[in-house]
């Protein structure tokens, strides 16, 4: 599946605008690190703005960007309003408080799981060899990795996590396409 056309237009527009603004506002030269970071923020902002409100990751990106004070310089005043309009109605305060609660819950369940044994479980000595348990552990580890990779997906449960990755992959691929063409045009 592909990302929709107007997303591509919007992303390109936002990104280029942001590049212009940052170039004008930066004035003199800045180090490459700063420049890279700025462009990364810019690209994230353009992505999230173009995506709008339909996905969790876009809101998470915007919320993350809006928090940092030093970003406002290059994000531009016009973008700021859109940021607030997207981030605030949903009360997206980042994942901090929710996550803490969830981690506490997970710790509790983990401890309890150590003690409690379901019926029909074989002896503990052979528990590491059981493929189902192994598979579950692997899946759990990988979902954790996935949650780290995808912005704003830490508080999602398995099903919504998968839908979120689906959405994210589609738009990330579109972004990569666009940026590839862009860099080609730039002559790099």
């Amino acid at each position: 599946m592909q990302a929709p056309r107007n997303f591509k237009h919007d992303f390109l527009k936002h990104f280029l605008l942001g590049l212009h603004v940052s170039r004008d506002s930066s004035g003199g030269m800045m180090s490459l690190n700063e420049r890279e970071r700025e462009i990364k923020h810019l690209a994230d902002a353009a992505m999230a703005l173009a995506r709008g409100d339909g996905a969790n990751w876009s809101r998470a990106l915007i919320a993350g960007l809006a928090k940092k004070e030093n970003n406002e310089a290059f994000i531009g005043k016009k973008h700021c309003k859109e940021f607030e309009s997207i981030a605030s109605p949903h009360g997206y305060h980042g994942t901090s408080s929710f996550l803490k609660r969830k981690m506490i819950m997970k710790r509790k369940s983990f401890n309890s799981r150590l003690k409690v044994r379901k019926k029909g479980f074989p002896s503990p000595s052979s528990s590491r060899v059981i493929p189902s348990v192994l598979a579950r552990r692997i899946v759990r580890k990988r979902t954790q990795v996935l949650k780290r990779i995808i912005p704003g997906a830490e508080s999602l449960d398995g099903i919504s996590l998968l839908s979120e990755t689906l959405d994210y992959v589609v738009y990330l691929r579109a972004q990569a396409n666009i940026m590839q063409r862009l860099t080609r045009v730039f002559g790099v």
Binding site: M1, M29, I39, S163
Partner: protein, 458 residues
């Protein structure tokens, strides 16, 4: 009529351009691409001639539509591509009107395409709904028992699938106007399917259909995942339309199935949804109910826990199927663990690519160079990996040469490169041009950024 055809033409062109991108970058393994190869090869060469501009704006697309519409009467007689296109156009409805930059060739082909497109009009009608086509898509979603349907849309290449799709489409559009179509469909489905009213399968029909109607993206995609988040955020106004559309078949199917079946809880905006008007009583009680009624399948356990588990498992497997289609090279892989691994790798590689492009953009927009920057630029070792790993479009020889160049350039030390950096852009272009013509440029003067530039299939 005329404006509608023009709109359809523009849709077709957009689809073609997107398909052309697909075919060009070769990530998608759809059968559509294999059919598109002949024709998108054409378009990709045209793209390259133009110098690979980014996607033309929608205004340009519309202008193409206008021009070709005008040229149509003179070109309908041109059937030179009829054989090749007869099969291709069946699958790629509205098979791309090529770019107008080669006027003589393109317009004749365009005219021909349009004439075949006219023959396919009923199909294309369903495949390219207009902007107001939420209701049509919702009609599609009504077939929640037929999950295989969405996969037919992008991948079908034979006439039978098209016919079935057409039938489905006709059914669905009919369902909207009167719900008899829906009733027929659900009775035709035959097998004792679960009559769940979850939004899971319907949600995931949506991303598939976003292919068809690219212009509707924000609402469609918002509709998909707005539905997901509805439990948390009640004020997803933009997804209302998508959800409203999704609710309509719900309302419709209620007549067919159990009267007790209710819908999932929605936000207060559900009250604004106007159903088809045949069941005011049920639309009244719809927003109040909170849970899903699931019927146990024949021969399955009726324990509530197992039912819920089964629902959950099916949701997960459905999403995994979609992801499988999306991530390249995952058709053979089965099982959650391995699939997740592939997904993670894919997402990470995409992110790394984007990072690469970002650094390139940054360096190109910075005016001056310092030695520090040059050293940093020469450091991307993963470039070679990406390049070798994704030699889809490039010839193998080119790929190897470029990989070699990257490796050699990185090991040749920084001294030579710093002096060359100043003339980097000129040399870069020169070398790239040489490489595309198969010459063997001197290896040491390769600019790292230049070498892997071409043929980055995505």
């Amino acid at each position: 009529m005329r404006s509608w055809s023009e709109a359809k033409l523009s849709f077709r062109e957009e689809r073609k351009m997107d398909l052309g991108e697909k075919g060009k970058f070769g990530l998608e393994k759809r059968t559509v691409d294999s059919l598109n190869c002949n024709t998108t090869g054409l378009t990709t060469t045209e793209w390259n001639q133009i110098g690979s501009l980014p996607c033309p704006s929608a205004s340009m697309v519309d202008s193409f539509g206008h021009v070709i519409w005008n040229q149509l009467p003179s070109n309908t007689h041109n059937l030179s591509f009829s054989n090749a296109q007869a099969t291709a156009s069946s699958s790629t409805i509205g098979k791309p009107v090529p770019m107008n930059w080669n006027p003589s060739d393109s317009l004749t082909k365009g005219g021909m395409f349009f004439s075949t497109g006219m023959g396919m009009l009923p199909l294309s009608l369903s495949q390219f709904p207009c902007d107001a086509g939420f209701t049509e898509r919702a009609a599609r979603f009504s077939c929640f028992s037929d999950v295989a349907y969405p996969f037919i849309v992008p991948g079908s290449s034979d006439a039978t699938a098209e016919a079935q799709m057409q039938k489905n489409e006709a059914d669905r559009i009919e369902a909207l106007k009167g719900r008899s179509g829906l009733i027929d469909q659900s009775s035709n489905s035959g097998s004792p399917m679960k009559e769940q009213r979850e939004k899971g399968p319907n949600e995931f029909s949506e991303p598939e259909f976003s292919d068809d109607a690219r212009d509707e993206s924000p609402n469609s995609s918002k509709g998909v995942f707005g539905i997901n988040k509805r439990k948390r955020s009640n004020q997803d106004m933009e997804s209302d339309q998508g959800q409203a559309a999704a609710q309509l078949p719900f309302e419709a199917a209620k007549d067919v199935t159990d009267n007790k079946q209710k819908e999932e809880k929605n936000s207060s905006t559900m009250a604004n949804v106007k159903p088809l008007g045949k069941n005011p009583k049920e639309s009244g009680e719809a927003p109040k109910e909170d849970y899903i009624h699931v019927r146990a399948r024949r021969g399955q356990a009726t324990n509530s826990h197992s039912l819920a588990e089964r629902v959950r498992r099916e949701k997960i497997s459905e999403r995994m199927k979609f992801l499988q289609d999306l991530v390249p090279g995952c058709s053979k892989v089965t099982g959650k663990a391995v699939m997740l691994d592939e997904i993670i790798n894919y997402v990470q590689s995409l992110q790394r690519q984007v990072e690469l492009f970002q650094t390139r953009t940054g360096s190109s927009s910075v005016i001056g160079f310092t030695p520090e920057m040059i050293h940093q630029q020469l450091h991307p070792p993963h470039q070679g990996l990406i390049q070798v790993g994704m030699a889809g479009v490039m010839n193998p020889s080119d790929a190897f040469r470029r990989a070699l160049n990257v490796q050699l350039a990185s090991t040749s030390g920084f001294k030579d490169s710093t002096q060359q950096m100043t003339n980097a852009w000129d040399e870069d272009l020169h070398n790239v041009v040489q490489m595309t013509y198969g010459n063997n440029p001197p290896l040491k003067t390769q600019d790292l950024n230049g070498a892997p530039r071409d043929g980055f299939p995505l």
